[in-house]
């Protein structure tokens, strides 16, 4: 893969994970200055959603919003001006569970709200309504490589379609019996704002390339357990470098044998 012809900038980061409830609160732990406690993520009430949609928002949508709203704290670009990429291996397995269960009952009754929330792009739809954005939006899945695939698609939107982009990766545990078949350990969402131009808020410049190098692991056991327990948390090595302003390379896993090398440079 040839290097990007135009630079891409990371302007803001959002995070929601056990012990790392926001980017602001996570940076010290990511820099290794304090331990990452395994504190459950408190439930999030999306501030931006109209009352109707807030009532209908599922845990998956709330989780995605928590990181997305957190990232918006770090940028002055209006949310309505950002194209979006939502990346999730499985989105809302709780809904798949409820619908699959309902289909075994007689009579079969699926909740209409469950059905419209069951689409993989539900979080993207709620976000566009919340911020009033008619910008391009896509929602992808690449199993455990979903963050890297989302970062690639977001970078291509910046480079080729000249968009500023909000990337939101999220996944959360399924209820049993599905959890045994897809054991996602904890809820994690990560958001990045990628821009075409550097601003005073820019954290780093970014370039991506395909590589056969193995994925970057985290030396801290608690952080590594977070990273390996959720597809969205595969972003943590990148966030660790951003938290420490330590420019260099991280290798993020794709779902096939070729990984994504991400190089961070001074803006």
């Amino acid at each position: 893969m040839k290097p990007a012809t135009k630079p891409i900038f990371i302007e803001a980061v959002g995070l929601a994970a056990p012990g790392l409830p926001s980017w602001q609160q996570a940076r010290a732990a990511l820099r290794g200055e304090q331990p990452c406690e395994n504190t459950p993520l408190p439930p999030h009430t999306p501030a931006l959603l109209p009352a109707n949609e807030r009532r209908r928002a599922t845990p998956a949508i709330r989780l995605a919003f928590q990181a997305a709203e957190d990232a918006m704290q770090g940028t002055s670009i209006p949310a309505a001006n950002l194209a979006t990429v939502f990346a999730s291996s499985d989105a809302d397995l709780g809904i798949i569970h409820r619908i699959s269960l309902a289909l075994t009952a007689s009579p079969r009754f699926i909740s209409p709200t469950d059905f419209h929330n069951s689409v993989h792009n539900a979080a993207a739809g709620y976000w566009s309504i919340a911020v009033g954005s008619r910008a391009a939006s896509t929602t992808i899945s690449a199993y455990d490589g979903s963050f890297a695939a989302g970062l690639l698609e977001a970078s291509l939107l910046v480079e080729v379609d000249a968009c500023d982009v909000l990337l939101v990766a999220f996944d959360l545990p399924a209820p049993e019996p599905l959890h045994a078949k897809r054991p996602i350990a904890h809820p994690v969402a990560v958001a990045l704002v990628l821009t075409q131009q550097a601003t005073a808020k820019t954290l780093a410049a970014l370039s991506c390339a395909t590589t056969m190098e193995p994925e970057t692991l985290l030396p801290d056991a608690a952080l590594e357990s977070l990273r390996s327990g959720n597809p969205a948390a595969r972003a943590l090595p990148l966030l660790q470098r951003l938290a420490a302003r330590d420019f260099g390379r991280v290798i993020l896993p794709n779902a096939n044998s070729r990984n994504l090398a991400v190089d961070l440079h001074a803006p």
Partner: protein, 392 residues
């Protein structure tokens, strides 16, 4: 954007296997929709079922076996598509070919079957159910990449009924940026009870056959399909992706904006990316699901961009609404209109709703076709418009 050659394409739907079967059905005006039983469905409705594909995957493909991948495998074997991909691999190398596949429900039918087979004591799902190569949304892209032996960038796009239109935009971006040299795009969505009973819960499934733009239309007929296209900037051949537009409605999760503003913006963006004027478009393949709200909003959007003269039709009276595969089905139909100089009529439309002002074709029309716009809109207000044309 620079027009991007489409070097091969194929589709399998209720109209048959491969594009010749589709061209014949469009010519003859025969619908693929039937009243039939699927699984344990008890809803009174018409279905667009693909015939003769539902055979178990065996050997090295056995672990992928589920209805969605059976359909993917069947569709990949039509129209010489495997040979075209092999030639592309010889040209570029397998690692330089990307795979971008749209789906709405992937292999969730397999999960439905597994829930019926839960252990009565432990509630555990059966051992034969493996999530990653069946239910997971990515599994369809993973299956296609591994079946074709391709190693370039790969992901599934799942934006409900716009999924397999948006794969063209993703592939074009990846090729333009040099992330890959060529790409397989497509979509596969197969019948399942989740979508049948789900759309029924929203009162959108018609007991009647789908009648887009008809005065008495009352909902969708659900179908299934698989289709693929090969995008290769170095290929010969006469067909091109000319442009694309992607927008959001920002209105409601499952109802279209009645003004059609997001849909109109999507069509305008496609025209702008192709540097074309509305008058240069010969035909619009509508999303046209056959619900009261969708068809009216889309007509408003079309008329706000094109006026009321451009011929247009929905082909969902032929294939049913194939959901995550609708984008690729209607992209292939758009390519067929160009190759055959034939505009298909809005099948099953008896009398046009007077509130729909767009120029809905009530009879097939033979005419030179150079450029076609295809609309795909999905839940969550996800809009995608694609422009296809002949090489200049």
């Amino acid at each position: 954007m620079k027009p991007l050659p489409i070097s091969a394409y194929t589709v399998s739907s209720a109209l048959g296997a491969g594009h010749a079967a589709h061209a014949r059905a469009l010519q003859a005006g025969t619908s693929g929709l039937r009243k039939l039983t699927f699984d344990t469905n008890t809803l009174d409705c018409w279905l667009g079922e693909v015939r003769d594909f539902d055979v178990a995957l065996t050997g090295s493909l056995a672990h992928w076996d589920c209805r969605n991948h059976r359909l993917a495998e069947f569709a990949l074997n039509q129209d010489g598509f495997l040979d075209a991909v092999a030639a592309c691999v010889r040209r570029h190398g397998a690692a330089r070919i990307g795979v971008f596949i749209g789906t709405s429900t992937s292999g969730v039918h397999h999960t439905e079957l597994a829930y019926r087979a839960r252990d009565p004591q432990s509630n555990a799902l059966p051992d034969w159910f493996v999530h990653r190569p069946t239910q997971n949304i990515f599994s369809v892209a993973d299956f296609v990449a591994q079946r074709l032996g391709l190693g370039g960038p790969s992901f599934a796009i799942s934006t409900a009924c716009s999924s397999s239109a948006k794969v063209f935009a993703a592939a074009r971006r990846a090729i333009a940026a040099g992330a890959c040299d060529a790409a397989v795009v497509g979509g596969v969505d197969s019948l399942c009870l989740t979508t049948l009973y789900g759309f029924n819960s929203l009162q959108l499934v018609s007991p009647d056959i789908c009648r887009p733009a008809d005065s008495a239309r009352n909902g969708i007929s659900i179908g299934e399909a698989g289709g693929f296209a090969l995008l290769d900037p170095h290929a010969d051949g006469g067909l091109r992706l000319l442009g694309y537009g992607e927008t959001s409605d920002a209105y409601h999760m499952s109802s279209p904006d009645p003004e059609g503003s997001g849909a109109a913006a999507s069509m305008r963006a496609a025209l702008a990316s192709a540097n074309l004027e509305p008058a240069q478009i010969d035909y619009i393949n509508l999303h046209g699901t056959g619900t009261v709200a969708n068809d009216q909003a889309e007509s408003r959007a079309v008329c706000s961009v094109f006026g009321t003269a451009t011929p247009c039709s929905s082909t969902k009276g032929w294939t049913g609404h194939t959901l995550g595969a609708a984008g690729i089905v209607e992209s292939v139909i758009s390519l067929l209109t160009i190759e055959n100089d034939l505009l298909p009529r809005s099948l099953n439309t008896r009398s046009k709703d007077p509130a729909i002002e767009a120029n809905i074709l009530l009879a097939n029309r033979s005419t030179p076709v150079l450029r076609v716009l295809s609309n795909s809109f999905g839940f969550g207000g996800s809009n995608c418009s694609l422009l296809f044309g002949k090489a200049a």
